[in-house]
């Protein structure tokens, strides 16, 4: 990170702040409309998609390894310091999303649209396992039995086979991956559009800055 210039750090801070603004405004509205105890799907997809799009767009303007992860770290710290209080779940979610996007970008030696799409898909897809991972971490091993029992009871009440739960989860995951992929692809296009508006040269395919 010693190669980062002042401009790079400023841009990391700006995109972290943009993601933070989205979390604190739209995120608050969505959490009010759809409390996390009742619905995590819509909020997770919308917030994850926008967050991924913002962070990946930032990559256009800080073409250095690790910049998307750093944008995620800044956003997570904003969330930590926000007046809503320190909450472990969103803090971990944002850090993991930043890490997954950065990991996807590292798969290619240069920046390419498909790495953006993959990064977005992984980041938004994480919102599905996140809830389970955090509950396992926070509540301990007994929560696994609760999950199994809930699936069994829920299937019985709805007259479905318990294996349908797996299918439902798979469908929800595919929707998340698709939304995330679109967000990543959109970030690639958005970065180019902003660069053109500012009269800057966009990061071309094959150009990485790694």
């Amino acid at each position: 990170m010693s190669s980062y210039t002042v401009r790079d750090w400023v841009t990391v801070g700006l995109f972290g702040a943009l993601w933070g603004v989205v979390e604190m405004t739209l995120g608050s509205y969505l959490h009010l409309l759809f409390p996390p105890e009742a619905n995590t799907f819509l909020t997770g997809v919308v917030m994850g998609g926008i967050g991924a799009a913002v962070a990946l767009t930032g990559r256009h303007f800080v073409p250095r390894r690790g910049s998307v992860l750093l944008i995620g770290v800044v956003t997570a710290l904003i969330k930590l310091l926000s007046p809503g209080g320190a909450r472990l779940g969103p803090f971990v979610a944002i850090l993991v999303e930043g890490g997954l996007m950065e990991g996807a970008l590292l798969l290619s030696r240069s920046l390419r649209p498909w790495t953006f799409a993959l990064g977005g898909a992984l980041a938004v897809g994480w919102s599905l396992p996140h809830k389970f991972v955090m509950m396992r971490l926070v509540y301990g091993a007994d929560v696994v039995e609760v999950f199994y029992k809930m699936v069994e009871e829920g299937s019985r009440m709805l007259g479905l086979d318990p294996s349908a739960a797996v299918l439902i989860m798979a469908i929800l995951l595919v929707i998340r991956l698709a939304v995330g992929g679109l967000a990543g692809w959109g970030a690639w296009a958005l970065g180019g559009a902003v660069a053109r508006r500012l009269g800057r040269r966009r990061v071309a395919v094959g150009e990485g800055g790694h």
Partner: protein, 226 residues
């Protein structure tokens, strides 16, 4: 207490909440509350939030209904005593872990974080975080004004185009704002990679806390609680 003490507390308390057996969780909770009363009263405010208690006590409600074989009836509900015990244990673990995070890292201020990053050789990250925190209001206002302008100029007629204009304009304006910040930093000769880090000395309370935590860990290891 210095930020190092809060970090040490978070690491120790979170690890202990995950590793100890259920019957030791009330002890951990009492220890955390004592820490909060001594050094993190602001963090204890989370105990006043209904959402915190809903999160913790859900386990106590769900446990008897879904864990173990039912052996008691409460009206129409078959309950399990084994599940009730497991539910309390889950609630205790959630309480311990949430408090560890909220009273420790959650109590650090922005300046504490900036100093910590500086000391850890991540001055740029501290700078970026402080910048982001200070620009939140300005960016929110900027985005709001952009949206209103697009809306007043007939953005509602073509929502996809309006959204695209909004995103491009907001990000472009943000980056222009960044140019001013870069110039201001250059004028002040700010160097994210050079210079000596600001001192962040340990306080006497940090040593007491470290000794106490080491003693507690030793005791828990002796009693094979982990």
């Amino acid at each position: 207490m210095s930020p190092w003490g809060y970090l040490l507390f978070t690491g120790w308390a979170a690890l202990t909440a995950i590793l100890v057996k259920g019957e030791w969780l009330p002890g951990l909770a009492l220890f955390e509350l004592a820490f909060g009363l001594a050094w993190s009263r602001q963090g204890l405010r989370m105990l006043l939030r209904p959402r915190f208690w809903a999160f913790v006590l859900t386990a106590v409600v769900v446990g008897p209904l879904l864990i173990g074989e039912p052996d008691v009836w409460l009206g129409p509900f078959p309950l399990s005593r084994e599940g009730l015990t497991a539910g309390w244990e889950m609630a205790g673990r959630a309480f311990g872990l949430t408090l560890a995070f909220g009273l420790g890292i959650g109590s650090l201020s922005l300046s504490d974080l900036v100093l910590l990053f500086d000391r850890l050789g991540l001055r740029g990250l501290g700078f970026a975080t402080a910048l982001a925190m200070n620009l939140l209001g300005a960016l929110e206002e900027m985005a709001g004004v952009t949206w209103q302008t697009i809306w007043l100029r007939g953005g509602a007629r073509r929502p996809p185009a309006a959204l695209k204009h909004f995103l491009v304009t907001t990000i472009a304006n943000t980056l222009r704002y960044g140019d001013d910040v870069v110039n201001a930093a250059a004028v002040r000769a700010f160097d994210p990679n050079g210079g000596r880090p600001a001192p962040l000395p340990l306080h006497r309370a940090d040593f007491w806390l470290a000794a106490l935590l080491a003693g507690c860990s030793g005791l828990l290891l002796l009693l094979k609680v982990y």
